[in-house]
Every structure is written in C-alpha cells, then in structure tokens.
C-alpha cells in the first residue's frame, strides 16, 4: 500500500465527504441537490479508478492492442450516472413546486410555515 497507489481513493473520500456535508448542513433545497450530485459522483471514481490498467486502452477491441482496462465498472457507472440525473430531475421538479407552494427554497423557512411540530397536541 502506497500513498500514490491509493491517491484516487483519497480524492474519492474527500468528494464523498464534501457532498454529504453539503446535503446535510445546507438548508437551501437547490444546494442540497448539488451536494447530492457530488456525493453520487464520488462513487464513479470509486468504481472506475481501480479498473484502469496502466498501458491498457479503452475497452474497444481493435488490432494492435492487447491490454484493455476493465469494462465492467464502466457499464455500472453508466447506469449510475443515468440514475443520478433522473433523481436530480425529479428533485428539481419538486423544488419548483415547493417554491410555488411556499414562496421559498430555504428548508427552515418552509418548515416554519407549517407549524405542526412532532410530539405535540394542541
């Protein structure tokens, strides 16, 4: 185990932490979705970086190449990207509706408008 050999993992971890932090800490609904998207992209690196072989080429069979990088993570991440953007589209559609219903996209302002704190009987 070397620092260089694991550099991609370290960056993956930084991105994952940053994304997760944005999602939980920020109250702005749009910014939360940006954080969510970043958190999801960290997974791309986690899957794909280990599939690379130095000296290999993209996994398209052609004359003159013998070593190909691993195609399976690519397939999985293609699916993950598509799922990510689908989630994003739905999330943003919800944000638009929330803005129309509440006039705000700040979480605490929205929750403040519907006073129904859990665990109380009026």
């Amino acid at each position: 185990m070397t620092v260089a050999g694991h550099y991609s993992y370290w960056i993956t971890i930084v991105i994952a932490m940053a994304g997760l932090y944005i999602v939980i800490a920020r109250g702005n609904l749009v910014k939360k979705l940006v954080g969510l998207a970043i958190f999801q992209t960290s997974v791309y690196l986690l899957y794909i970086a280990p599939g690379k072989l130095i000296g290999g080429t993209a996994p398209i069979v052609a004359e003159g190449f013998a070593v190909y990088s691993n195609p399976l993570p690519h397939v999985l991440i293609l699916t993950a990207i598509v799922v990510g953007v689908a989630t994003l589209a739905l999330g943003l559609a919800l944000v638009v509706r929330i803005k129309e219903a509440y006039g705000s996209i700040e979480e605490d302002e929205i929750l403040g408008q519907d006073p129904a704190p859990p665990g109380r009987t009026p």
Binding site: V43, V83, T87, L94, R97, A101, P118, G119
Partner: protein, 493 residues
C-alpha cells in the same frame, strides 16, 4: 412452457404495463391494467412460492447468460415469501385505489398515478427477486423514484416537502448501498450475490469487507427507517395519498428488511455480521429505542395518520429485534412479523383512507363520535389496533409470541418483559382512537360523514379479516417464515 419463465414474469408484467398506460392516457384503462397485472403477479408469486416451499432454489438466467456473467433471478423460500406479500398487498390496494384515488388525485393525473403505482410494484418485486447486487440498486431506484412521485401527489402541500426529504434521504441510502456493493465488487470481482458469498471467505483483507458491511447496513437501514434513520417516514406516510400510504407502509420497508437479511445471511454470513462486528448488539439497542421512543412519540400525535406512521417505526423495531437474536426463532419471528405487520398497517391505513375521503386530514379533534356514522370502519380500526397491541386471536399476537420465545431462548427474560411492556404503549395510542371514536358525541361535521364506498370498505376488510384469520390459524405464515429462516441460516452456515 410458460411456467419456467415465472421468476421474471411477475416483475416484467407490471414493468411493461407502465408504458402502455402512458400511451393509453386514460385513468380507467390504467386502473384496469394496474389491477390486472397486480393480480397476475400475485398468481405467479403464489406458484413460485409453492415451487420453492420445500427449500429448493429456482435460478433464472436473464438473456440466457449464465451467472455470474449475466443477471440472475434467484428465487428461494425467503424471497418467494416476500413476493407473495408484496403482490398480495398490491392486488388488494389496487382494488381499493379506484375510489380512493378518484377522490384524492385530480382526474387528469389518474393514469400517471397508476403508471407510478405499477412501476413501484415492479421495482419492489425486482429487488426481492434479483440475485445480482447492482441490479438490486437499479430496481431500488425504480421503486424509490416512483414512490417519491406517488407521495408528492398528496393533497396537502406538505406532501411536496415530505417527498423531497424522502428523496434526499433515500438517495443517500441508495448511494451508501452502491458504495457497499462496490467495495464487495472490488474485493471479489463479481456482482452476483451467490457468487460473492462463495468468494468472500477467500478474501484475506477483511477491512473492505467490514466497511462494505457498515455501508450496506446504514444504507439499507435508511430505506427501512430504522430508528434514528426514520426521519423521512412520518411525513411521507402522513401526507401521501391514502392508497399510497397503505401500499408503501405494507411493502416498501418490508422489502428493505429482506435486503438486509439477504446481505447479512446470504452474502456476508453470520460469522462476519454477528461475530466480527457487534451487529447484534447495535441492532438490539436501536430496536429497543425504536419500540419505546417511537411509540411514545406516537401517543402524542394529533394527526391519526402520523400516529400510525410513528407506530410503524416502532413496529420495524420489533422486526429488527427479531433479527438481532440471530437464531432460528428470532428470524422466524422477524419474518412472520413482516407479513403480520404488513397486513395490520395495510388494514389501518386503508380504513383511515376511507375517513380521509371526506375529511382530508384526520385529526382526533375532527373525528369525535366517528363510530356512530362509520361503524364498520371504526370497528376495523379497533381490530387492527388490537393486532398492533398483540392481543391473542390477532396476527400481532403470533409475532410477539415468537419474539418472546426467541428472547427467552436467548436467556434474556428482561427482554421478554420489555417486549410486553412496549405493547402497553400501543394500548395507549389505540385507546386514544377508541375513546375519541366511541365515547364522544359526533359533531355536526362528523354526523354528515358516511361509510366509504363498498369497494374500499371491502378491500380494507379483506386485510382486517386477514389480521384475524392468520392470527387464529398461523400455520401457513409461521410455516413459511420458519422455512425462510431455515433457508437463511442454512446458507449462512
């Protein structure tokens, strides 16, 4: 022979019904199709259940690529039990939804609603049937995305925020699951769960495996709303359309429990989960917290749907409690409670949907004297409530009986006492309904209410009768659960 394709048909039929509904653009046709595919899925699932009841395994190679190169559907007695449960609830809720959705969702959106409904069904069945780690994630997202939309279709504007919060937490959960599966994939080179299980013992580096276990546990527990990761659930259940609440409460969290069991017992094996990490202790602590804290919160709710949503969090605690024992009896209790709680909560939320038809939100102060005008509905709620408490003669009793047995077997008498004690909290919140509905004079608004339409009432009562029937004759459910538990433990050892 068509029967050889059963393992894939129950997922593909609802899947293909969805685009047909969009092309038809007609609410009535969409409802017919949704009902038809739900019942067909149920028929197929029952046939599969019978096929694997003896403990055998049916493997189906999609695309005719042998696993682990292709994606495999793998049915054994554990997920066959789940398939029957999910498609059964979907079939009953489909009948129920016609009137309920007509009242709660704008007419132009009916076909969209049913499209989402069958997609959610296909997603849940796909999660249960698949034998492939990544395919599980894909179908998880199908069911999740469709349930976000279904929740957002609720009448109250709070449904939008509930859906958004569920979307955030659900996506975090799904991403955690992908990270967990990814770590396992990097260590074993395969995505097929059975193949993974076969190769994991040969993996010498345990740290990635343990990290994968942690990520999968947290991710799945977010989806199954284990305390304290339940924050999305109460609002989502409270503000979703009634049919959606009934369907999701009875199926979505249950399927997540199945995924947890599948990873714990089939992939990692008991020795890793319960010996290398103190998962048993963690699950036990969180389950107890869920049983007591969530039940206590439930008692103080003013909104009846929210009350029973918190009660769901507590009931999930009973299920994970059963898992934490890591014994045949404990697993049997957990699996049988999956089924029993699905029936009970399905019945409750369907009956409440009948009240919501006229009232919108159901608050205690608005339903005083409800039993006078809606006697059948109120009586059904009481029966299902007795099942929540665990009174003998209802399914709830069967679950608690096996849970107490498992606790005693593990030599934890104090735990058995706690299980009984926590039921007292359920007595309190069920009694609140009884007191309000039976011992108050109906207000003018209440006296104008009337029973829900026959199709809704009948569908709800099917569930209520199920609560009592399977409480009196538990041989089918307990037998199925015991077989499932044996299968899980057999693979684990």
């Amino acid at each position: 022979m068509i029967s050889q394709h059963y393992p894939v048909l129950h997922v593909v039929l609802p899947l293909i019904a969805a685009p047909v509904m969009v092309l038809a653009r007609h609410g009535g046709i969409a409802w017919l199709l949704a009902t038809a595919v739900s019942w067909s899925s149920l028929a197929v699932s029952v046939a599969l259940f019978a096929q694997v009841a003896d403990g055998s395994v049916v493997s189906y190679a999609i695309g005719n690529w042998a696993p682990p190169w292709g994606i495999e559907y793998r049915i054994d007695s554990v997920n066959a039990f789940l398939l029957v449960l999910v498609s059964l609830i979907a079939s009953v809720v489909a009948i129920y939804s016609r009137e309920s959705v007509a009242a709660e969702v704008p007419r132009e959106q009916h076909y969209l609603f049913y499209t989402m409904y069958v997609l959610c069904l296909a997603g849940l069945l796909g999660i249960a049937a698949t034998g492939d780690g990544f395919n599980l994630f894909v179908f998880l997202e199908i069911s999740s995305l469709s349930s976000y939309v279904l929740i957002a279709l609720g009448r109250d504007r709070r449904a939008l925020m509930a859906s958004y919060q569920y979307l955030i937490m659900g996506t975090i959960g799904a991403t955690f699951i992908v990270i967990g599966v990814g770590l396992l994939f990097l260590m074993t080179g395969t995505l097929n769960l059975a193949d993974m299980a076969a190769r994991l013992p040969g993996v010498t580096e345990t740290r990635p495996v343990l990290a994968a276990l942690a990520f999968l546990t947290v991710g799945i527990c977010l989806k199954l709303a284990l305390f304290p990761l339940h924050l999305w659930l109460p609002n989502a259940y409270a503000y979703a359309p009634s049919a959606v609440t009934a369907f999701l409460a009875a199926t979505a969290t249950k399927v997540s429990v199945y995924v947890l069991l599948r990873f714990y017992y089939t992939v990692f094996g008991e020795s890793v989960v319960f010996a290398a990490l103190p998962m048993g202790g963690i699950l036990l602590a969180l389950s107890l917290a869920a049983m007591f804290i969530a039940s206590t919160i439930a008692i103080f709710q003013d909104d009846v749907k929210r009350l029973f949503a918190y009660s769901s969090v507590a009931q999930i605690g009973y299920i994970t409690l059963g898992i934490s024992f890591d014994s045949a009896t404990g697993l049997t209790a957990a699996i049988v409670h999956l089924f029993n709680h699905a029936l009970t909560k399905g019945a409750l939320f369907m009956l409440l949907g009948g009240v919501a038809l006229h009232l919108g939100r159901i608050r205690f102060r608005d339903i005083g004297g409800l039993a006078r005008v809606m006697p059948l509905t109120s009586f059904g709620v009481v029966l299902a409530g007795l099942s929540l408490i665990g009174v003998p003669g209802t399914v709830g009793f069967v679950s608690k009986w096996y849970l107490v047995l498992a606790a005693l077997e593990a030599g934890a008498g104090w735990l058995a006492a706690l299980i009984v004690l926590s039921s007292l909290l359920a007595v309190v919140y069920v009694w609140r309904f009884v007191e309000v509905a039976y011992f108050r004079e109906p207000s003018e608004a209440v006296s104008r209410l009337k029973e829900a339409p026959p199709s809704m009432l009948a569908a709800s009562w099917v569930m209520v009768v199920g609560c009592v029937y399977f409480g009196l004759d538990a041989s089918t459910t307990v037998g199925g659960a015991a077989q499932a538990a044996a299968t899980l433990l057999g693979i684990g050892r």
